[in-house]
Symmetry: D3
Subunit: 220 residues, 6 copies
C-alpha cells in the first residue's frame, strides 16, 4: 500500500488544490495520495532564489515525515531540494521535472515542453542537460502569459494549444510535457486536440513514486 | 482500474512465471496484471532475427487484445515490436528497456546496465542512443554466464554482484538496471548489497503502464 | 569483381526500376549490380509495421542468395532487417539510411534530410541517434506531398527544392540526403540548383557495398 | 571511369608504396588509382605543425591536378588541408580519417581506433568531435610502438592485435579503424583474428572517392 | 581597477587562508582581491544539503556587498547559489566549477578532474552535463582520502599524483582540474610532474572575474 | 607581470588598431599588452585556405617571440595555428574562438554567436564540436553584411542587433559571442540594448592569457 506525500513548495493554495485534483486518478483506497503546501514559501517559484529558498524547508519536511509515508513528490518543475531530500530519507523522492520528461520519453521519441515564463527556460535547459536527456528534448517554448491570461482559463488554453502546435510543427516533437505543476487541467484537452501524448509532470512523478514505493526502490 | 497485459515474447515459461512473480507487488484487486507468453516464438531472444521475428506476432496479439486491456507491456529488453504495436492500438504500450532505463534516470544520475550476453551489448547501445539517453548511461557490462551458471542461482547472483560492483566503481554508476526480463529475483538482493537503486525493467514498465492507463495517456 | 544485390523491400516495381536506373553509374562489366523487388511485401514502407514485416523476408532472401553475391544493399530508408541480415551472411550488408547519412558526413559538415512523409520523421531521428551521428544532422524536413504531387514529377521537384533551401537557410545544412529510395531522379537537379552535395542513399549504399566487397570487409 | 589521385603528404616512399599496394583491390582498367607522395614534406606527420605545413602544398597540388583526375584522397589520418582543398576544386576531395570512421560506422555500431602514437590521440578526438560522430567512437588507443617495433612487422602485428582486443573487450567496440595511412598490411590479419570489421582508412576514402566521382557528387 | 570578492562558503578558515594564498598571483595594487569565509556555514560542503544551505546566505552576502566590489567568486566546487546570486547583483558572479572546467577547455582538449570524495562525483557530473561540456570531460576520479591523509600534505600529494596519472593514461586527459577549493598548493607540483596544464578552479574563477569586471561584462 | 602579445593574422591594420583599442581595458602598467599584425598575410581570413596559410607564420612568429612575452593570443575567430603554436612554446597560447565561447559559457547557459559571413558557419560549427561544447551553443547566425554595410558602422550595428535579437528569441540564447576579431566596438552597445552578456572573443582570450601567464599555466 504505497502512501505518497506530494508537497507543493509554494504558498499558492489554488495550485495545491489543482494538484490534488490532478492526481486523483492515481489514488485508491489502498493507494492514498496526500497533497500539501509548504508554509512560509513564496507564492510562486519564479526565480533561482525561490528555488534555493524552498530546498531546505522541503528536505526538512520530508525528513520529518519520512516514517509516515512511503514515497515523496516535490511538485515544482525546478525540482528544488530533490537531491538534498534524498539524503535525509531512505524512501524514494521524485522530482516532477525529471519524472515528466522521462515519462514522456517512454511514450514518444522527441519531447517538447510548454513552459509559462520565458525567463525559466535557460534554467530548464540546465536541468535537461544535467539529466542527460537533452538529446531527446527538441524544444521548450514559453506561453509567455500575462497575468490576465493566466487567470482566464480559456485564453490560457488557446495559448497552450498554439505553443503545443508550434512544438509539433516547427520542432518535430511527438510528445509534450507541461512545464509547471499548475497546468494539469489543460492536459486532456491538449492531448485530444493535438493527438500526441501530453504529460502532466506531477501525475508522472506520483506514478513513479507509487511504483518505487510498491517495489522498495531507492533513490539516489 | 488499470488492467495491464504483460507479454513475454519468448517461449520460456519459466521466464513468464518469473515475470508474473516479479510484478505481483504492483498488482491489486483494482489493478489486475496478466502475464502471458507468446506461442511459436523462440525459447530466448538472443539475436536480432529473434527480435524481428517476434515483432509482428506481438503487434498482432496486442491488436487482438486491444479492447480487453488498458495498457500493454512488451517484456523483452530489446523492446521488439514496440513502435509497431503503438500503431495498432490507442492504448499505451511500454517497452521494458526504455522503461527500465528511464525509470533509473528518475532515481539516480548515472545508469549502469547488467546484461547477460556480451553479444547483445552493441544492440543495447543502439537502443540507448536511439532513446536519446546515452549521455546518462555510463556502462553496460555482460555477466557472460555459461549455461551452467545461468541455471545456478547462487553462482549467477555472485556474477551479477561482481558486474554491479564494477559498474559502480569503474564506471561511476549510481543506479543499476537489469538488462533482461528474467533477472527480477536478483533485484532486491543486489540493491541491499550495493546500496544503490536497482531497477527491474519489467516492473518499471508495468508501473509506467499502470500510470499511463490510469491517466489516459497515449503512446507514440 | 564485386557483385552486388540491391533489394527493394516493397512491391512497387516503379521504385525498383528507378533504383536500377539510379545505380547504373556505379555498375560496369566487372561490377554487376542486380536490383530486385521482394514479393509479398507492401506497396510502400510507410509504418513501423511495414518495416518489421519485411525484416524477416529480407534476411531470408539474403541468406538464400548469400553464395551468389558479394554484398547486399537493403534499399529502404528505414534500414529494415539490417542487423538481422548481417547475422545470416558473412558478406557485407549495407542499409541505405546509414550509408546515405554517413556518406553525406564525408562530403560536408552539417547534414539535412529531405523526407516524404512527416510521420516518418520521429522514426528517422531514432535511427540517426542510434547511429551516433545526430550531432551532425541539423534537420529532417518532410516534403509532405499529396498523392497527386508525388505523381507529378515537376511539382515534386519544386517541393523538394523548397525543402532543400529551407534546410540550407534555416538549419544551416551544407549537404543534403534524400530520405527515400525512390527520389534518385531529383538528386542531380537539386545539387545543380542548390550548389551543395546531394546524396541519394541507395547510390551511397551501393558504393559502400562495392568497396566492402572488393576489400573483403565484414559487417556487424 | 573514375580516376582517383591519392596523395600521401609525407616524404616516406615506403608509406606511398604501401598505400599503392593497399588500394589495388579497388582499382581496375576503368578505375585507375594513382598514388603519389608530396615533395618537400616531412618524413612523417607527427605534430600539428606537420599537419599545418602540408595543408597548403596539398591544396596547391590538388588545384594543379584538378582537371586530370575525377576525385582526390588525402592520405594522412589528420586529414590535413581537407577543407582548403575543397575550396580549390569542384571535384570531390576525401580525407582518410573522416572516410575511415564513417565507413566503420556503416559496418558496425561502436568504433574503436588503433593509433600509433599516444600524442596524436587528443588531435584525433578533436577530429571525431568536429565530425559529429564522437558518440559512436568508443575508444582510440595507441600502439605506442618503439622505433624497433615499428620496423618489426611481426612485433607490430602483435601490438596491434593486443590493442584491438583491448578496444573490443574493455571499450565494447564492434568495428575497428586503423588510425594511420601506413598500417594497411595489418588489416586482413586483424579482421581474421578478431572477427570484427577492420577498416583501412585509405581504402575507405578511395572507395568513397570512386563512388563520388562516378555519381558526380560534390564535396563541401 | 577590478575589485574582486572571493567567498569561501564554509567555516574552515584554513581553506579560506589557502585560497587567499592561491590567488595572490592574480592580485596587484590596482587589482585587489579580498577573500572571506561565511559565518554560520558548515565546516565543509560535502552533501547536497550543505550546498543548498549556503546558497541563500551567499546570495544575501553578495547582494549586501554589491556596491563595494566589481565582481564575485563563489569558492566551492559545487557552485552553490551561483544562479541565485546572479539575480541579486548586476556585477559578474563566477562559480569555480564552471570557471575551472571552462578554463581547462581553453588550455587543452580533454579534461580530467581530481576530486576528493567519491560521493561528490555524481553531483559533479550533473554539473558538467548542465554546463553543456560533458563531451569534453573524460573522467572525474576521487582521491578518496582518509582524514589522516588529508592532513598529511605529502601523502595527499602522492594520492593526487596517482589519480592525475590515471586520468592521463586510462582516460586520455590532456589537462586536469582540481575539483575542490582547497587543493591549490598541489597545482604547481602536479603540473611540473605530469607535464600537462593543471587548473586550480578558484584561480580560474578569479581570473574570469577580473576580466569580466574590467570589461563590464554581465553574467546571467 | 604578465606581458601578452596579441597577433592579428591578417594584413588589415584597421582590425589591428581596433583590437588594440578593444583590449585597453585589460592593460595596465604591470600588464602590458602588445597588438601586432602579421605581414604577408591576407587582408581578411575568409576561407579555409586563408586559415591554413597563416598557421605556419603564426607559429613561427610565436616561436621567435617566445622569450619576450608571457602569453600569446591568436586574434582570428578560426583559431588558425593554435595547436601548432602550442608545440613551439612553453608559454600559454590562446585562441579567440575557444576563449570567446568558453568565457560565454561561464557567464550564461546558452550561447549564440553573431558571425559576419554565412560561409564561415560550417567551419565554426566544426570548431564548436571539436571543442566539445556544441551542446551549449544554440545558434550561430551571420549578419551577411554587404561591403557597404560593413563600412557603415551604424547600419552594421543595426544588423548585429537584429541578429542578436533573433538568437535570443528564436534560439533561446542567454549570452552572445561576437564571431570575429573586428567587432569589439559593437560589444557594449549590444549588451546595453539586449540585456544579456555579450563577449568580444579577443578580450576574452587576453583575459585568459593574462590569468594563465600570471599563474604559470601551460597550454596543450
Amino acid at each position: 500500500m504505497p502512501h505518497v506525500l506530494v508537497i507543493n513548495p509554494n504558498a499558492n493554495t489554488d495550485v495545491t488544490d489543482g494538484i490534488r485534483t490532478a492526481v486523483q486518478g492515481l489514488a485508491g483506497p489502498a493507494r492514498p495520495i496526500e497533497v500539501v503546501g509548504l508554509e512560509g514559501t513564496p507564492y510562486g517559484i519564479e526565480s533561482q532564489r525561490d528555488v534555493d529558498a524552498v530546498a531546505g524547508p522541503l528536505a526538512e519536511r520530508i525528513a520529518a515525515e519520512s516514517d509516515r509515508y512511503d514515497a515523496f513528490v516535490i511538485a515544482c518543475f525546478s525540482d528544488p531540494g530533490l537531491h538534498a531530500a534524498r539524503e535525509v530519507t531512505a524512501k524514494p523522492v521524485l522530482g516532477i521535472a525529471q519524472s515528466g520528461v522521462l515519462t514522456a520519453m517512454a511514450l514518444g521519441s522527441r519531447v517538447g515542453v510548454i513552459s509559462i515564463l520565458p525567463g525559466s527556460i535557460p534554467r530548464h535547459w540546465r536541468a535537461y542537460r544535467a539529466m542527460g536527456v537533452s538529446e531527446g528534448v527538441v524544444g521548450d517554448h514559453a506561453v509567455g502569459a500575462s497575468v490576465a491570461e493566466l487567470a482566464d482559463e480559456s485564453a490560457m488554453g488557446d495559448r497552450m494549444l498554439a505553443v503545443g502546435r508550434e512544438l509539433l510543427e516547427a520542432c518535430g516533437a511527438d510528445v509534450l510535457v507541461l512545464g509547471c505543476a499548475g497546468m494539469a487541467q489543460y492536459r486532456a484537452p491538449l492531448e485530444a486536440e493535438l493527438g500526441v501524448p501530453v504529460v502532466d509532470p506531477t501525475q508522472a512523478a506520483v506514478g513513479l513514486a507509487q511504483t518505487s514505493a510498491s517495489l522498495g526502490l531507492l533513490t539516489r
